[in-house]
């Protein structure tokens, strides 16, 4: 009995304009589906019950990876994580994203799950996922941030009533690569920086991204800025397959001789948005890349962290990952 979800109208447009028009008409009752791993879980649990589900996978213009004139790449939002991982251009120029995509979930999920879905998936807090009336679900309590609440996987930073974290591996890499997101809706196209695409509970407690009903994330653009830099990606999770990160780190470093000329470091799963570590970047920029610099950077990594009852371990974990990333 558990394997049938409530009924809905499934529509399968083959062009973006139709999809946007369908989603706009459906408003709050509409739902865009691509890989379906996040969507179908919600439907099966009867927590989200859209009446119109728009299948985006028939829209070919949203697929594929193209080099752009400035030497960067544009990745269609429907490109699968396996395609992102194995694409030769991404491997050569932006290996950070390739590594991150290859660490998502399991092979089967990467084969069908899309990069657009990976960055727009909803929070993985199990209280929220189990349909409780928490803040994120429109209620007025948090079940995780309580003396008894299980919050080992939850946030260190930026809590505002909700303590859920960004669950995505590719999101951290995209923030470090200065990527931007291309969003289309009935009034046209807008391009926003990845850092503005992800939003925390203080801005909108019910959404992890700025996507609104009727919006479609169509592509992700990565500028040439960090092409061919030195990269470090690591994901720490309880299991090597399937699992969401406890902490992940995505770093891009440009060297000048033995000096760190410029650097981007972003940690996932420590805040509701991928947390860019600007303070660490400022500390180590211009220094020799060695153990001392790595220790200085690591010492500042978790500054300001406010751990919950069961997630103190994330602080040394984060510091350790930053140390490894800078040391190389």
């Amino acid at each position: 009995m558990k394997d049938m979800m409530p009924n809905f109208n499934l529509v399968q447009p083959t062009d973006l304009a139709s999809a946007i028009s369908l989603l706009t008409d459906a408003g709050e009752n509409g739902w865009a589906i691509a890989g379906g791993h996040d969507s179908l879980d919600w439907f099966k649990d009867r927590i989200k019950r859209p009446t119109t589900v728009v299948d985006l996978t028939g829209i070919d213009s949203l697929k594929g990876i193209r080099e752009t004139a400035d030497g960067g790449v544009e990745i269609g939002a429907l490109t699968t994580l396996t395609e992102v991982e194995l694409n030769p251009i991404i491997k050569e120029k932006f290996g950070l994203l390739s590594s991150a995509a290859g660490r998502v979930a399991s092979p089967q999920i990467r084969n069908k799950g899309t990069i657009g879905g990976n960055v727009s998936q909803d929070a993985r807090c199990w209280y929220y996922r189990s349909g409780l009336d928490c803040y994120r679900a429109g209620g007025n309590t948090c079940y995780s941030d309580t003396p008894e609440g299980m919050n080992r996987e939850h946030c260190l930073f930026g809590a505002s009533r909700c303590v859920a974290v960004s669950p995505s591996d590719t999101a951290a890499a995209l923030v470090s690569l200065d990527a931007s997101m291309v969003i289309q809706n009935s009034s046209g196209e807008k391009v926003v920086a990845a850092t503005d695409f992800f939003i925390g509970p203080a801005i909108d407690i019910e959404n992890m991204t700025i996507l609104k009903p009727g919006d479609v994330l169509t592509a992700i653009r990565i500028p040439a800025t960090w092409a061919g830099a030195e990269f470090y990606f690591e994901k720490v999770a309880d299991r090597n397959s399937w699992d969401f990160p406890l902490v992940n780190i995505a770093a891009a470093i440009k060297m000048n001789g033995s000096t760190i000329e410029d650097i981007r470091i972003t940690c996932g799963a420590v805040e509701c948005v991928p947390k860019r570590l600007n303070v660490v970047e400022d500390i180590v920029r211009g220094s020799e890349r060695n153990e001392d610099t790595a220790n200085l950077g690591a010492g500042a990594a978790a500054r300001g962290a406010v751990p919950l009852n069961y997630n103190h371990f994330k602080i040394p974990l984060m510091e350790g990952l930053v140390r490894k990333a800078i040391r190389g």
Partner: protein
């Protein structure tokens, strides 16, 4: 044959009862579609709009290509591929474990790529080629080298995850005929085995690769 199961002549120790195993019984029910009332309970699809989608929604009568054959089937808009395969096409080799893309028992190949059929809407794969565990063997029932090697390596214990492991192994050897042990581990990393027979499965696929 019928008499054998009447209460006065039923012998619980008789080996003849195997003639009607649970599997053939269930398959028979699916094929005959006789338990219309119970089917609603079994599939849970009785609620809501039983006629399927409303205006503008997908056409319910579709043809999907499974194991090289075009199979006409009536598919609800909210129906997963695992459901269609098991409950409508009688292909019960594909198992449902978690129904949440978290175990791998339902793994099938879609256009040669492994996918969780529990988390795929059937309507989203209408124009693709689906291969289930029933479709990996030879035309006359010969086992695929991966299946044969799994028998030899005693890979299945309870056997519930085995169809998924077979499909993941076959898909790997199709794109990479001579994988390293690490590549095999990676390819099977989306298939849980609660008996913990991972090493046996990996041994089997390495062995099958040597023969292919």
């Amino acid at each position: 044959m019928q008499k054998k199961f009447s209460s006065d002549r039923y012998d619980p120790l008789s080996t003849e009862r195997d003639a009607l195993s649970r599997r053939t019984f269930i398959k028979g029910v699916i094929a005959a579609g006789t338990v219309a009332g119970a089917a609603g309970l079994m599939t849970g699809c009785s609620g809501g709009d039983s006629s399927g989608g409303g205006a503008g929604s997908v056409e319910r009568l579709v043809t999907i290509n499974v194991n090289g054959k075009d199979r006409p089937v009536d598919v609800m808009p909210n129906e997963t591929l695992a459901h269609t395969l098991r409950n409508k096409l009688g292909l019960t080799g594909t198992k449902l474990g978690c129904d949440r893309a978290s175990c791998g028992a339902c793994t099938v190949m879609i256009d040669g790529v492994t996918t969780y059929s529990c988390s795929t809407l059937t309507h989203m794969v209408r124009n693709k080629k689906i291969v289930t565990v029933e479709g990996v063997g030879g035309p006359n029932g010969e086992l695929h080298p991966v299946q044969q090697a799994m028998i030899e390596e005693l890979a299945p214990q309870c056997g519930y995850c085995t169809p998924g492991q077979v499909v993941s192994g076959v898909a790997l050897l199709q794109r990479n005929p001579s994988p390293t042990r690490d590549e095999v581990r990676h390819a099977l990393s989306g298939n849980l085995c609660r008996c913990g027979a991972y090493n046996n499965y990996i041994n089997a696929i390495v062995k099958a690769a040597g023969r292919a």
